[in-house]
Subunit: 324 residues, 2 copies
C-alpha cells in the first residue's frame, strides 16, 4: 500500500532528502552539500542520487506515492524554475520534475521552498487544523506562503507569497528587486545585520558589549549574534529587535488586512532567535492591522524548524495524490 | 427544476434585489431606498419585502435555489454583521440570514458587498475563467475580494479583502481605523476629493477651470467631477489622477506580490471614470511589484457596474448550492 512520500529540499548549501510518512513524521533522511557548478545540473544529479538511496533503503518504491521538491526561486506548477534564485547561479529554466519522473517512474511535484514550508506547517506544524493561514519564512531573504480554505495557494506560476517584497516604506532603502522599502531589507538575516550596524555605528547608543562587537565589524556580526544579545537583555540589541520587528509588523499587518487569516506563522532561520520575535511583532501589530481582524488572528512560531522543507515537499505529494 | 438565485445588495442609499439566472443574467429587478431608522430593523423588512415581491412575480420559489445577501461591513459566514458599517448605524450584530430562512424556507447566504462584487466579476464579469484574481472596489471606501483556485476567499469571519486598509505610507495621513496611510485615504471617492483640494489649494498650480471650481469648494467637488476634468485633459486634474493612481498602485503592487493573481479587476463607483484609472495604475505598477509577477498579471476594469452587487449575491447562492 502506498503510504510514504519522498521530500527533497534544495538549499543554497545543502540538498536534503527524507522519506515522509502520512502523519508528517520523517522515517529516513539524508543530506548532501549543494554543488552549484555546471549551472544547476549537478544539483539535479544530487537529487536523483538522494532519491535512489532513499528508495534503496526503503527496499523499493512500492510504498511511495511520489517525490516532492522544494527549491529556491519561482517554481512553476510543472517544475520549471522561473526567474533567478540568488544562491543558485544558472538555476533559471531548469526542469525539476521531468528527470525524476523519467528515472523512477514516480509522480513528481515541485514548489518554491517557502510554499513547501508553509504547507508543512499547515499540515503537520503550527497550523494543524487551521483553514486560513499564512507563513513568513525569515532567512537569507523573506519568503512565505498562503493557505486558503485548507489549500496551499500557489498563485500564477507558483509565485504567490512574496511577502519579502511587500514595501513597508515607499521612501525606504532600495531593494535588488527594483522596489524601495521591501520588508526583506529590514527583517531578513542580512537586513537585521544591516540595521544592527546602522544603529550601532551611526545611532547615539551606549557602549555595550554588543555595540563593541558590531563596531569591530566583520563576519562575527550575524542575525544569530544580534538575537543572542537580545535574549541576554542588551539594551542596544533590544533596540535593534524593536526596530526590525516594527518593520516586520507592518508587512504582517498588511497580510492580515488582505487575507484575514486565523494564524500567522513565523518561521525560517531567523526564528532560531525564538519567542522574542513573535512577542515583539505581536506588540507592534495593533498599529498596522484592523482591530477586528487582529482579534481573531494568532501569531505563532513555526514548529518544524529545519525539517519543514522536506516535510513540506512530502506534503506536496500527499496533496497531489489526494487530488488524484 | 431549480435554476435561479435571488440576489440582494444592501447599500447606504438603496436596497436592490434581483432574480439571477445561472448564467449571471438578471431576469427581474427591484430597488427600494434604504431606511436606516430603527437600528437596521427596517432594512431587514425591506429585504423581506423585496424577496417576497420577486418570488411573487416569479410565480413561486420552486425554481429558486436560495437568497444571497451582500451588505456593507464584515459579514460572518452565518450572516451575522461584525463590526460597524459607517453608512448604516446600528447595523452591528444584525443577523441577515435567519429571518430570510424562516420566512421563505429558502437557503440564505450572506457576505460583505465587496466580496459579492468580486464573485460576480469572477463568475460572470471581467474575471470569467480566471482561477486566481483579486478585485478592488473603489467607492466611498475601498473594499475588495480575493479568488484563489476559482473559490472566493472569505477569510476569518468573512473579513478578507480589506485592501482599503493596506497602508501605503506608514508616515501618511491618519485613517479612522487607527492606522496611518491607508490607501482608502487616497483613492476612495472622498480620498480623491481630499487630494484634489490639497493640490488645488496648497500646491503651486496654474489656474484652470478645474482649479477655480475646486477652490470655490462646496459639494460640487466630487470624484466624478475630478475625472470629468481628467478626461477633458485639464492638466491639474490630471496631476490629481497621477497622484491618486500612484498611491493606488502601491497597494495593488503589494496585493500582486502577495497573491500572484492572474488578474486585478478595478471596480466600484470611482471606476465610472473609465479606462484612465486602469491605464494610470498600470503605468505606475512597475515601481511596486516584482517584474516576473507583473508580466503574468493583467489589470482590467470591472464589467458589471452597478449590477455586480446583486449578481454577486446570487453567485454566492450558486456557489453554496454547488457545494451541497
Amino acid at each position: 500500500m502506498k503510504q510514504y512520500a519522498i521530500g527533497i529540499d534544495i538549499g543554497g548549501t545543502t540538498v536534503k532528502g527524507a522519506i515522509i510518512a502520512g502523519d508528517g513524521l520523517i522515517r529516513r533522511r539524508m543530506r548532501v552539500p549543494t554543488d552549484t557548478s555546471l549551472n544547476g545540473a549537478r544539483i539535479l544529479e544530487t537529487v536523483i542520487t538522494i532519491i535512489g538511496r532513499l528508495i534503496e533503503q526503503e527496499g523499493g518504491s512500492d510504498h511511495v506515492f511520489g517525490v516532492g521538491i522544494g527549491a529556491p526561486g519561482f517554481i512553476d506548477r510543472d517544475g520549471t524554475v522561473i526567474g533567478k534564485a540568488v544562491n543558485l547561479p544558472g538555476w533559471e529554466g531548469m526542469q525539476l520534475c521531468r528527470p525524476v519522473k523519467e528515472r523512477f517512474a514516480l509522480r513528481a511535484v515541485a514548489a518554491n521552498d517557502a510554499l513547501a514550508m508553509t504547507l508543512a506547517e499547515a499540515r503537520f506544524g503550527a497550523g494543524r487544523g487551521v483553514a486560513d493561514m499564512v507563513c513568513y519564512a525569515l532567512g537569507t531573504g523573506i519568503g512565505g506562503g498562503i493557505v486558503t480554505g485548507g489549500n496551499l495557494h500557489h498563485g500564477t506560476r507558483g509565485m504567490a507569497g512574496e511577502f519579502g517584497h511587500v514595501s513597508i516604506d515607499p521612501g525606504g532603502i532600495p531593494c535588488g528587486c527594483g522596489q524601495k522599502g521591501c520588508v526583506e531589507r529590514y527583517a531578513s538575516a542580512p537586513g537585521i545585520v544591516y540595521w544592527a550596524r546602522e544603529i550601532c555605528e551611526t545611532g547615539r547608543v551606549e557602549e555595550t558589549d554588543f555595540v563593541r562587537i558590531v563596531r569591530a565589524g566583520g563576519d562575527a556580526v550575524t542575525a544569530k549574534l544580534v538575537y543572542e544579545f537580545v535574549n541576554r537583555g542588551d539594551p542596544v540589541a533590544r533596540r535593534v529587535n524593536e526596530f526590525v520587528c516594527d518593520k516586520l509588523s507592518r508587512a504582517v499587518g498588511i497580510t492580515i488586512n488582505t487575507l484575514a487569516p486565523e494564524l500567522v506563522v513565523l518561521g525560517g532561520g531567523v526564528m532560531m532567535a525564538g519567542q522574542v520575535i513573535v512577542d515583539t511583532v505581536r506588540k507592534h501589530l495593533p498599529k498596522y492591522s484592523l482591530p477586528e481582524m487582529l482579534k481573531t488572528c494568532e501569531v505563532r512560531a513555526a514548529e518544524l524548524g529545519e525539517d519543514a522543507g522536506v516535510i513540506g515537499a512530502g506534503a506536496l505529494v500527499f496533496d497531489a495524490a489526494g487530488k488524484g
